[in-house]
Symmetry: D2
Subunit: 255 residues, 4 copies
Amino acid sequence: MEKITPDSFVLVYRDRRRKWLVRPSETPKLHTHLGILDLASLVGKDYGIRVLTTLNDELVILKPTLEDIVMKFSRRTQVIYPKDIGMIIIKCGIHSGSRVFEAGTGSGAATAAMAYSVAPGGRVYSYDINGEFQAGAKRNLERFGLAEHVTLKTQDAKLGVEERDLDAALIDMGDPWELVKPVKEALAPSAMLAAICPTMNQCEKLVQTLHDEGFVATETLELIARNIEARTGMTRPSMFMVAHTAYLVFGRKLG
Amino acid sequence: MEKITPDSFVLVYRDRRRKWLVRPSETPKLHTHLGILDLASLVGKDYGIRVLTTLNDELVILKPTLEDIVMKFSRRTQVIYPKDIGMIIIKCGIHSGSRVFEAGTGSGAATAAMAYSVAPGGRVYSYDINGEFQAGAKRNLERFGLAEHVTLKTQDAKLGVEERDLDAALIDMGDPWELVKPVKEALAPSAMLAAICPTMNQCEKLVQTLHDEGFVATETLELIARNIEARTGMTRPSMFMVAHTAYLVFGRKLG
Amino acid sequence: MEKITPDSFVLVYRDRRRKWLVRPSETPKLHTHLGILDLASLVGKDYGIRVLTTLNDELVILKPTLEDIVMKFSRRTQVIYPKDIGMIIIKCGIHSGSRVFEAGTGSGAATAAMAYSVAPGGRVYSYDINGEFQAGAKRNLERFGLAEHVTLKTQDAKLGVEERDLDAALIDMGDPWELVKPVKEALAPSAMLAAICPTMNQCEKLVQTLHDEGFVATETLELIARNIEARTGMTRPSMFMVAHTAYLVFGRKLG
Amino acid sequence: MEKITPDSFVLVYRDRRRKWLVRPSETPKLHTHLGILDLASLVGKDYGIRVLTTLNDELVILKPTLEDIVMKFSRRTQVIYPKDIGMIIIKCGIHSGSRVFEAGTGSGAATAAMAYSVAPGGRVYSYDINGEFQAGAKRNLERFGLAEHVTLKTQDAKLGVEERDLDAALIDMGDPWELVKPVKEALAPSAMLAAICPTMNQCEKLVQTLHDEGFVATETLELIARNIEARTGMTRPSMFMVAHTAYLVFGRKLG
């Protein structure tokens, strides 16, 4: 059974709003408003245990999941939600060994989720012209051990994608239609192009461009995630929710 | 570039409602209401091409994705939708090498999606007391080359799960609360249990049982997938949709 | 207590899909696949009773509600759904005495709902250039006793609305932005303009025009109606639903 | 054209979050963070005008709609949303002259909306055992000129409803199934019972009771209201929304 090491990430969990993603080597003492937690003392122990703070408050030690990690990536750029990246991974058939293109590294959150899915043997090629974003994404990918499955390129994918015969492509940029031609050249025949579009106008223009470039089986959809408060005798949907993240557009390249 | 072989699956595609998942070796001539397609003549060619039927109707030859495959699994039992299985895979962090339990093989659709994600190096252990369902699932898994990543057991998981230290578990049965105890023993500490519950009552009873058994970070949600008709100047949501597939329940085991 | 007369409308009801809106004077014998019902024999009886067909099948006799009536209006044109017209009536504050403009009589369904709400003392002024539609709407309004609260004009509202100081306006046309100027002249200061827009593009162009014309408090929304199957121990949303009817746009005129 | 009087309600509007419902006689000077507005100087003027504060900030003077009024009712109890009350009014066919029962006066918000719809000639009979709530509702109804259409009774409707042959009934209480029998006696045959149920469990138990008591045409639904940000070239749903208010349950009494 896996033991916590000094460099392990642990998710210190109280409830959905109060949780901390930390490492004993970096944060030997975790200071919270619920008291101080001696993280260093967890080394050698199992995940999935209950611990007490100096104020005798109970916290839980979990092994972080992909979602825990991805949702912690810097939020300076658009966030990718689990519902959306899960759908993209399934619809594109991304799995171990897949070679995937990404336009718009951003915070690296989607990059990380795809890197996690293509390992081992696959690779994510992620382009972004913003060097600062890419530096941040690189730090995050390295921190979580995912950098080895990713090639970051600080260059403009609109001017050309250097890879060929790729299994899938994800576009997460404000003008996705500008990427269709270079991505088309980089994709294997029949491969899926996916795009994340916050607005209806982006969907409209992208789908038009996909048709113009001979893509088929285009599909536009949105996933609405609704939390349910399941409590005995008083089960109901949560009162508030994220109403919209982005539309997802898909299309398949013809040779 | 990958060429079509006699045993390759090809997706013959006209539009979202008219598509056929076939193999040249099994269906040398595909008879459709749009004319006959000479599938045998595709051997040695690339995917992603346009072809003509004997009635001069144009069809497209695509390489099937995981979604194309999973949605073709026998529908005698509850279907698993891409949106739901994508979310489960992300939230459970299922990837190459994961060892995953499944209660309720059913048609094997979710089994297939998870098998695809755990390969290589991982394994799905899927229990179902219905031998007929499992035989059908086995045929489908073999047909699509996924059987080697799956161990099927025709036995009642309520009586005990034999595996230990598993990375995740998926329950797709009518009485998921009956599975919580045996699944808890099989999961690694901190690992995620996921369940597919069509009704509110199932969610309620399952979440209560999860709390009783010391699971934490429980979450219940539903994903609503809404298709958009993105057409220049007249973009709108589709008029009809699948309103409900199932609620998804998640919780993490404490050691 | 109200008794059924020969000219009363009755809703013969079996379930949500099998129901008939008929009058004894017009249909003394109602022929259904469940047998024949002797409608004439209901005259003098109360609503809310159970009756038998010649095949001994039980049906229920209900007094039709506004919804029963409106949903039976001819469907050659766009339908108005109860959720949408209810929201419009509330947001516009339409009630007895209101004087309301409508552009696009169509089948007269929304006209009927508004006529029902403005009676007594109010009036709906409904314009449509399609004389055939208006003749159909007139027949329906007369049939259900609502015509006296409506003035139908077979003319193009884009060329001018003749009424002044109106309490509210509803636009249900493909190019609602063309109506903003004439409607603005017809509305009382501070009155609400409402529009029914199936596409995003219509919303966008209409809201822009409303702002250009000095309307304030603009709001665009959609109402998604989801049916629930409430059954003891197995409550869940219905599997299929109408995913989209139309967006509703609102704005208030400044003087 | 209607002029503002000292006792008129005016809605001072800046945007959807900054608005004030006030009367010149009560608030001659309105102090806001945007400066002071001389409300008294508006007497004799039209609605629908732009005015300046002492800080030269522009505000708009609107005539409050039913929605503006209802949403300002005290929120100590459950709120009624326009989408929900609009649907109830349409489905119950509530209009001028209707005699309607209400169980659970609460803040009086739904009472007010129904009073507005039944005037003139109709009446709302609203029961609540909480005298404090009813006193608050009475003040609000009087303030907005709606009290004359309402009979408030500080008594327990579960013990009996005194009215007979009513056109519709609305139940907004935590245990709506307890009201079905007394409401059934008070409704005219074929009349509609509506109920507002925040939880799935309430729906389930209420629908079961309705069936047990011979109600037909039962229906359970929820309305999800989603705001759209319609802006030229960047139209999209709002990021956050109210995900759930309540389920609506309907059923019709048999005689």
